[in-house]
Symmetry: C2
Subunit: 455 residues, 2 copies
């Protein structure tokens, strides 16, 4: 018998509660504000847009929130996910570090997004909601929500950024397979879409426009319809903690704990998922586990943004969120990690960063594809371009451990596989990709008009 | 705690030997013949083309063949695969039957093909072979072999049917990611390819032509190069028995055994993988488990072919194989389950069918896509179009159990997921697919010229 490659948990060992880090934070996250009144958004205001069950979770101060049995049942389709020792990568790097990864790519849609899609649809279902709307850029979130809606019998309308709609036909088809109605955005189904198309009939869309359309449709049909969001909000991050809760149990099984925990960073959901349960150990048990968020060099909100209230969407329809942000008008470069092209970080992560309880780094695009290829050739799994950011940072840490001659235990979250993102790898092979450096001037220009609410 | 969804095995429980069904067959499979002499092919003749390690396995009469430690190490990247109870599908069908599936889609390439790619490359590596060649149609086999070659440091040249090369760019890119050289076939790199191109410069290729090119390159460089094949041969089927060996252990864990075991059928490898270990129970323990091969209605070699010697490739370069065959000139309809578009079945499966130890059925294309969609919407996993044939038969058996009011335990092999085959589903959604009926006349015409060796 050789060394164990995968540390598994049985279904009976699956965690039965999500972890709400807010309960353990000394400095609580700042509230989300109504942009008109600049007063904190109330439960009632949020319930117009979101299911009551998740709005309650947005506000809860409980440390653990029980995972409903119906959600656990669906989690068991693929969970628990393996914790994998990356022997092949370690060998290629000739490092004394131990590298582990949590493989969220084993879900039916190929990424971690299902962890929150299922409970979000469940709470809408329980409330008697019949229709959901959402937006999707790269298509991961739209796929996850389509899957979940097919399970609970809800209709789903997905506004998919038109550029992605044409570039990523497989993602659209996955959503169709699970019964969702996928609309290229901007569309003629909403006032927001029609206004854009009147100005520019060839507009290829943006996440901001797609959000506007999805929100508009939900607001127009309040009796039966709600809107859903796949990242940023407190409850979304909480749903993802199933990842880290499993990882903690898996490390306990082998009598080890990581020194460093790494997650790529878009809106914060997979990062929070892997990281928050380890942060609890820091806060409650006095451990010193480094928890590191990895963002693209071309979208550096955590490392170069400002901590201020900002809109969650590009067009300014959402409540004001306390964020490390590059400004909602910041236009990220056209990198191939669509899930990380977001201007801001949610309230919890921003507070944790402000309080120096987590770290943030940025990685240039070419390094992430080099890391992704090395990982594919040593561990066999082709990572999603987003997840390749976490791989790249794990490699940096492993090299550093070698230079310093110390053995470190590194954990990163492989948030998804890249089998449906091969177009990005094609562009890399063809030599069409490059790094993007963002000037201080540009960041100043996109952050200068933010309201000066956080003093 | 709800009902268990997945029956798992730990890495320590992974079977450490493949099962060679030949040892238990009363009527042994007929030998493969040299087409010139019509004498059985010798070890030496086969070793010109294939690695010695696998040629030895082609001839072995041992019941169990130990899986080398290096192969086990790589199997552990994703094995053991889950045995999953399809509660969702059962509910949708309102059937008293219990339906289980073995999920081979959890491998890094998304299908069962890795089970044989890894040992094949391993034995070539052990022999000091530096370069491998192969052909691929849909791309599953090429991806698997690319993965395995990247692990053992061998070069790989894949001749990919030109139509697929353009239709399935993601598959090509997967192979590139693992370092393989992918050549659209027919190519100008071989005499075979050049001859075809001289006749028809726009030829989109076929599996037969691609085999000819791959074999030619291997033969031309015998000192350092060998050819590899992903199905049909005895040792390929044996490597796949890891699937069924695991499934037997998993059923033992829950104190159950299937009444019916189902696998889709192209060249026979995934069918043998899931089925042979259960056939052993029939042969050695007097059980009566039905083992059912499912082929496309449009390529009905098992249900309507003849049992006779035939070539393995379209152009007639390979040894003569005892097969249920439609004739090597049979042109299968352009269905979207590329892996099942093969004219013949290998020696072992053909003997088993001849001796009525297994059953065979055929399913029309539209029924397979309906089954695939029902499975995607009840179990969450989008099946490969090939695997959807097994799903369709499982549904037929579950409906029959309901009609008869009996509880049956049904097992099928989900040989792969369909995330890289979404083009096929797109064609289905667009209403572009149909069933194909093959006339008796056509089958007579393609089988009439076979040599009359089996009397």
């Amino acid at each position: 018998m050789e060394k164990t490659k995968k540390i598994m948990l049985s279904e009976a060992e699956m965690p039965q509660a999500w972890y709400n880090i807010v309960a353990d934070m000394t400095n609580k996250p700042l509230p989300v504000l109504n942009p008109q009144t600049r007063e904190p958004m109330t439960r009632e205001q949020l319930c117009v847009l979101f299911a009551e069950g998740v709005v309650d979770q947005e506000f809860t101060q409980e440390r653990y929130v029980e995972i409903p049995e119906e959600v656990q049942d669906l989690y068991r389709i693929w969970r628990c996910t393996p914790l994998v020792r990356a022997y092949g990568l370690e060998k290629a790097l000739d490092t004394p570090a131990k590298i582990y990864f949590k493989n969220e790519g084993t879900s039916p849609i190929g990424s971690h997004k299902l962890n929150t899609a299922i409970p979000q649809v469940y709470y809408n279902y329980k409330q008697g909601i019949k229709h959901l709307t959402t937006e999707t850029g790269g298509g991961q979130w739209g796929s996850a929500l389509s899957f979940a809606c097919s399970k609970f019998g809800l209709d789903l309308k997905v506004f998919m950024v038109k550029a992605s709609y044409f570039q990523k036909p497989y993602r659209k088809l996955m959503m169709n397979t699970w019964g969702a109605d996928v609309i290229p955005s901007p569309s003629d189904q909403t006032d927001a879409g029609r206004a854009i198309l009147a100005q520019d009939p060839d507009c290829l869309g943006s996440l901001g426009i797609a959000i506007s359309e999805a929100v508009e449709v939900a607001m127009r049909n309040q009796a039966t319809t709600r809107y859903t969001l796949g990242s940023v909000l407190n409850y979304v991050l909480m749903h993802q903690t199933i990842i880290g809760e499993e990882a903690v149990k898996q490390f306990e099984k082998i009598g080890e704990m990581p020194d460093i925990v790494i997650g790529c960073f878009g809106g914060g959901s997979n990062f929070a998922g892997i990281g928050f349960p380890f942060l609890r150990m820091n806060m409650k048990e006095g451990r010193h586990i480094r928890v590191v968020a990895v963002e693209p060099q071309s979208c550096p909100k955590l490392t170069r943004g400002v901590f201020q209230y900002d809109f969650g969407d590009t067009t300014g329809l959402t409540p004001l969120i306390p964020m490390y942000t590059l400004g909602h008008n910041f236009q990220p470069a056209d990198i191939h990690a669509g899930g990380l092209r977001y201007h801001g970080a949610g309230a919890i992560v921003s507070q944790l960063l402000h309080d120096e309880l987590i770290e943030a780094v940025s990685v240039p695009q070419m390094e992430t594809f080099e890391a992704g290829l090395l990982f594919a050739n040593t561990e066999g799994i082709i990572p999603a371009p987003e997840s390749a950011h976490a791989v790249a940072q794990a490699i940096r840490e492993a090299k550093k451990a070698k230079e310093e001659g110390v053995s470190k235990t590194i954990l990163f979250n492989l948030s998804g596989h890249g089998l449906i993102d091969m177009y990005a790898y094609e562009q890399y092979f063809a030599g069409n990709l490059r790094n993007f450096t963002i000037s201080d001037e540009y960041i100043r220009s996109t952050t200068s008009e933010l309201p000066n609410i956080i003093k």
